[in-house]
């Protein structure tokens, strides 16, 4: 590993560590540093902590799952963004480029419309994301004219906007006193309700998708060369593209199903990661995962501590992401290529 990537990963890990400490230490329910230390010791030694069950519940049942979910969602979005930016050789691409987020959002609002249970709503969101990207890919592949990557992106844009219309229609039908607020909260993104049972359906797809992408890292490097060069190097881009799209969609859909729509993480974090460790996907993917997790965790800590009422995550990531992205564009050093 080169010194620059060592430094980059050290920065990302440091950020992550600080984020985790802050996330466990801060919250609306007062838990002192001494209590935290006792809980950690109790966890390590297997001894009872002697703390009130309330504090135990806050840390293990409320903050803990939320911290893990924020890390996983942030990592998922960042990894998917990195993969898609590489696949499309375009720095303005985010994980929802092929409609994963809008498909998941449509699935979720339909689930809320039919008053399904929580798990079913998340499942509908997850399925919606996969189906949307599958449809985009299927349509894109039938169009034989022009640059296949460009065709795919354009198909993603139009299908995404159709799905957006569908979301609007379901919101229009929804009961304005009950379902509509639930849909609005969901579409703005939040981890407020995260509990332990939510973690497994998130962890599985995120680990699987990330593992696939990491395994493909060398091919992704070649893929980010122009198409002819990639082919000249003997790379069959078709199946590879399917594998990358599937893996990135899997992690995006799982994240959106768990946390709702959170923009900007998948767009901004890959740039920051490239800024730190350069364009090699072998280094880029782990750094992006660490940074994305740390970033979303900080955002989520802010969301739940700033005021008694939660601030939607999608709003915070946009407010913080926009100026940051502009700064990143202005200081293009170590940027895209």
């Amino acid at each position: 590993m080169s010194p620059s990537s060592l430094r980059g990963n050290a920065i990302a890990l440091g950020l992550l560590g600080v984020a985790v400490l802050l996330a466990f230490g801060l919250g609306r329910f007062p838990v002192g540093p001494a209590d935290l230390a006792r809980l950690v010791w109790a966890g390590l030694s297997g001894q009872p902590s002697g703390l009130s069950p309330q504090i135990e519940a806050v840390i293990w049942n409320i903050r803990g799952p939320r911290v893990v979910a924020a890390l996983l969602c942030g990592a998922a979005l960042a990894v998917a963004g990195t993969a898609f930016q590489g696949l499309f050789r375009n720095p303005l691409v985010s994980p929802d480029i092929l409609g994963a987020s809008s498909g998941a959002a449509l699935g979720a609002v339909v689930g809320i419309y039919f008053s399904l249970g929580l798990f079913a709503i998340q499942l509908a969101a997850f399925t919606g994301g996969l189906v949307a990207v599958g449809a985009v890919y299927a349509i894109g592949s039938t169009i034989r004219r022009g640059d296949p990557v460009l065709v795919l992106v354009l198909t993603g844009v139009v299908v995404g906007s159709l799905l957006g219309a569908g979301i609007g229609l379901v919101k229009y039908w929804a009961d304005p006193y009950n379902q509509l607020p639930a849909m609005t909260f969901w579409l703005l993104g939040s981890l407020a309700g995260t509990a332990k049972p939510d973690l497994a359906p998130l962890l599985g797809p995120v680990l699987l998708g990330t593992a696939v992408l990491v395994a493909l890292r060398w091919r992704m490097n070649v893929m980010s060369l122009p198409e002819e060069e990639a082919r000249a190097l003997g790379l069959n881009t078709g199946p590879l593209r399917i594998a990358i799209v599937t893996a990135a969609t899997l992690v995006t859909a799982a994240s959106v199903a768990a946390a709702g729509i959170i923009g900007w993480v998948g767009l901004v974090v890959p740039h920051l990661a490239r800024f730190l460790v350069g364009p090699d996907f072998g280094k880029l993917l782990p750094t992006a995962a660490l940074l994305g997790g740390g970033y979303l965790l900080i955002i989520d800590t802010l969301a739940r501590t700033a005021a008694p009422v939660e601030t939607p995550l999608g709003i915070l990531t946009a407010v913080i992401g926009t100026p940051f992205f502009i700064w990143l564009l202005a200081s293009a050093r170590g940027g895209w290529s």
Partner: protein, 343 residues
């Protein structure tokens, strides 16, 4: 008293200019607009669910249909042939011409909306009235205004007698409840968390219409002093920090799961068994849709919050309310179902 609106002033001046008698058949709606009382009212279009419910309680035969069709579970609690009237949609802020044409094909003599009387609703009413030529009355949907809204609607529909009966029932309920609550010192008023959503983590902020029943009852809503006047999301940690004495919810799933969760079960309200699932048949008693259905909810909630001051039998009140307002007397089994909060 709202600001003197320029339109009102002009209307007032017009009254002076026009000979007496020409305005005899006009009435001020909840927003202070002059509405000509239609010569014949046989068909009324409700612009949204609160209006539909209020109109149903006053004059079910005039109701053209429901903004949303009632669910099968709700039908036994409504008059046969009326509870199952068709779905006719609602007039929204973006009501387009196709929508209004659909309204016109139903040939309403009157359009009624109940809820906010704010500017955007006044403008919508003016526009629809101008486009369709059908009188469009706005009723103030806030609690305190419900009796007045009944009287306006009674005059517009020629059902003044029944309107007076219903208005009086609401007034006497509100007066009785208010009078008893006034004697309760602040420290004896429980802190209440209003839980919505399957996880119970959506709540109503201070000015929210969703918690109007709570604020009318002088309960200390733990989320009341947060900025905003709608619904918001909070974390369970925050609810634990608030540690409310009473939790009121409209969500069955949440009410059933609240004890199983270690974090929830440490909250005072859960420990004391004071998590209350609001009845919702045929319409919600506490919150949605925010219409006259909340009047019986006021008694229900008053009894839960201040059991000592409200010894009344809620079954008797519910039976009376349903009989008078919905014109269907629920059986004992149906009352059980209503009070269980299921359905």
């Amino acid at each position: 008293m709202p600001h003197p609106d320029r339109r009102l002033v002009l209307a007032g001046l017009a009254t002076l200019a026009v000979p007496r008698g020409a305005w005899a058949a006009a009435i001020r709606d909840g927003a202070g607009r002059e509405i000509a009382i239609p010569a014949k009212v046989e068909r009324v279009f409700p612009a949204g669910p609160p209006a539909a419910i209020q109109l149903y309680t006053l004059a079910p035969d005039l109701l053209l249909g429901w903004p949303r069709a009632n669910r099968p579970e709700e039908l036994p609690f409504l008059l046969p042939g009326i509870g199952d009237k068709p779905e006719i949609g609602r007039i929204t802020g973006r009501g387009n011409s196709a929508n209004l044409e659909a309204v016109l094909t139903l040939k309403p003599d009157l359009i009624v909306d109940a809820g906010s009387t704010g500017r955007s609703y006044v403008e919508l009413a003016e526009r629809v009235q101008g486009q369709t030529g059908i009188p469009y009355a706005l009723l103030d949907g806030r609690f305190e205004a419900i009796p007045a809204s009944y009287r306006i609607l009674g005059q517009l529909t020629g059902r003044t007698e029944r309107a007076e009966t219903l208005a009086r029932w609401c007034e006497s309920a509100m007066t009785a409840i208010k009078g008893r609550i006034a004697t309760i010192p602040a420290e004896q008023r429980p802190s209440v968390y209003y839980a919505r959503g399957p996880r119970g983590l959506e709540t109503g902020l201070g000015g929210s219409i969703n918690v109007e029943t709570l604020s009318f009852l002088g309960a200390r809503n733990v989320a009341a002093d947060q900025p905003g006047n709608g619904l918001a999301q909070v974390s369970l940690e925050q609810v634990m920090a608030w540690d409310p004495e009473v939790i009121v919810t409209i969500d069955l799933g949440f009410a059933e799961s609240v004890r199983a969760d270690l974090a929830w079960s440490s909250i005072r309200a859960v420990k004391a068994g004071r998590v209350h699932l609001s009845p919702k048949l045929p319409f919600g008693w506490v919150d949605f849709p925010p219409s006259v259905n909340r009047m019986v909810g006021l008694w229900w909630l008053a009894k839960l919050l201040y059991p000592a001051q409200f010894p009344e039998d809620i079954r008797a009140i519910a039976r009376e309310f349903h009989t008078l307002f919905y014109q269907v007397t629920p059986s004992e089994a149906q009352l059980d179902l209503i009070l269980s909060g299921r359905g």
